[in-house]
Symmetry: C2
């Protein structure tokens, strides 16, 4: 009988710059009574990774460019936040009141470059950028977990993304280590021997969405989730594998 078990690691402290997420994850696994097994996946929110990396910026130290001020007027946003959004983006795709939809410098499309005001403490001057290189963060955490446990695991860093066409955010993978983010079933056959039509499964994004059920969006109470029993193809995947090449994207 196939089962997948997701566990929100308990007693995760509030994370600050410089904190060791590997030690935090290992302590959380121990508190949950979990010993890592081959095939387990650890999903961490972008937020705690970014906080551990010190990706906090102080708005009072940002000097918005004329372009940022102009966009801020259209978007009804703080020009200093817009300045940070532009610095974190390759391209602005849409501007609407309250939101800039951008291609993030990491390659994915998201709102406001993932820049977040919430859960940074009582200080409204602080905002949080996304991690500098989530694939590298995932690889580093994975290597340490394998070193400590002796078993092959995968790591996903997830972020809550809005979508075209549908309302509500869903957890999406922005950093990957130890798995192929897409499961390519092309050439495989279904129960009757027909070639499968739906052929490439977004496995890393489904893992990210599943973990998000326990992370509750912006709240930081369960930022690290352990997943056991999910089928995936082990491998050296990375975020880039999930991103639709711009020239193939029908909805830019």
């Amino acid at each position: 009988m196939s089962q997948v078990q997701l566990t929100a690691l308990p007693h995760i402290p509030i994370i600050a710059a410089g904190d060791d997420l590997i030690a935090v994850t290992l302590a959380g696994l121990s508190a949950a009574g979990l010993e890592l097994r081959t095939g387990d996946v650890i999903v961490l929110t972008s937020k705690i990774v970014a906080k551990a990396e010190g990706r906090v910026r102080r708005l009072s130290q940002i000097h918005p460019s004329p372009a940022a001020q102009e966009i801020a007027r259209y978007a009804h946003k703080d020009p200093r936040v817009v300045e940070l959004v532009l610095a974190e983006s390759r391209q602005v795709l849409r501007i609407r009141p309250g939101v800039l939809i951008v291609e993030h410098r990491l390659g994915f499309v998201c709102a406001n470059a993932g820049i977040d005001h919430s859960n940074l403490g009582a200080d409204p001057d602080q905002v949080l950028l996304l991690p500098a290189d989530p694939d590298a963060s995932a690889r580093r955490i994975r290597a340490a977990l394998i070193d400590q446990s002796g078993v092959e695991v995968a790591v996903v860093i997830n972020d809550s993304h809005g979508r075209a066409w549908r309302l509500g955010t869903v957890g999406s993978a922005i950093g990957i280590a130890g798995l192929a983010p897409l499961t390519d079933r092309r050439g495989q056959h279904d129960l009757f021997g027909n070639t499968l039509e739906i052929t490439v499964l977004g496995t890393a994004d489904e893992l990210a969405a599943a973990a998000s059920l326990l992370q509750g969006g912006a709240a930081e109470r369960s930022p690290i989730v352990h997943i056991r029993g999910a089928a995936y193809v082990a491998g050296d995947g990375r975020l880039q594998d999930i991103l639709r090449p711009q020239h193939e994207d029908m909805f830019r």
Copy 2:
């Protein structure tokens, strides 16, 4: 400690038109040793719901219109399949070789109106449409499960959807009963008392994506998944709640 447990119900038979999915679900729960509890969620693939509803069509009985033939030339698709796609759609958004991106008559955006060749048996003349009214199917199944079990559960019907910007399909909710598909956290506060920025979570879609990890896309081996432990708001939600109104959609 928060946990979510997903179980692929075992021994689900191949479903044919007229089969009783309620009896099949109850037998699967029994085979899994699961007794329904309040708050459980049952996720069924669109495919088995459609098959039980007899949504199979024979291509040899389809007579494509001139418009369907014209589009089929552009799209390099069977004109009879295009005829069915058009009949199931409100609007064609994009045409590319091999794919029509449409607004389905149910309101969501998807490829080829969700019309599927695979897992219909050895007969290449058969294709499968999506369920006629997935919300109604979910409500009917939910009512029977509550009647049988005496506890409040939710039902989601999911379908594998492609996305703008990202590669790979993810399980998405197309039928809903017994839950609010969006969890609205606006006005709630984070750990430090700040108002939350990411405010509306796509809970039904995250449940659909999580279940999809056990359903394996087009294969039909685990079409019914039981979820226990996921937090959601009980309520009379429906598919329409998740669909971004066209006038607010920046990516049509």
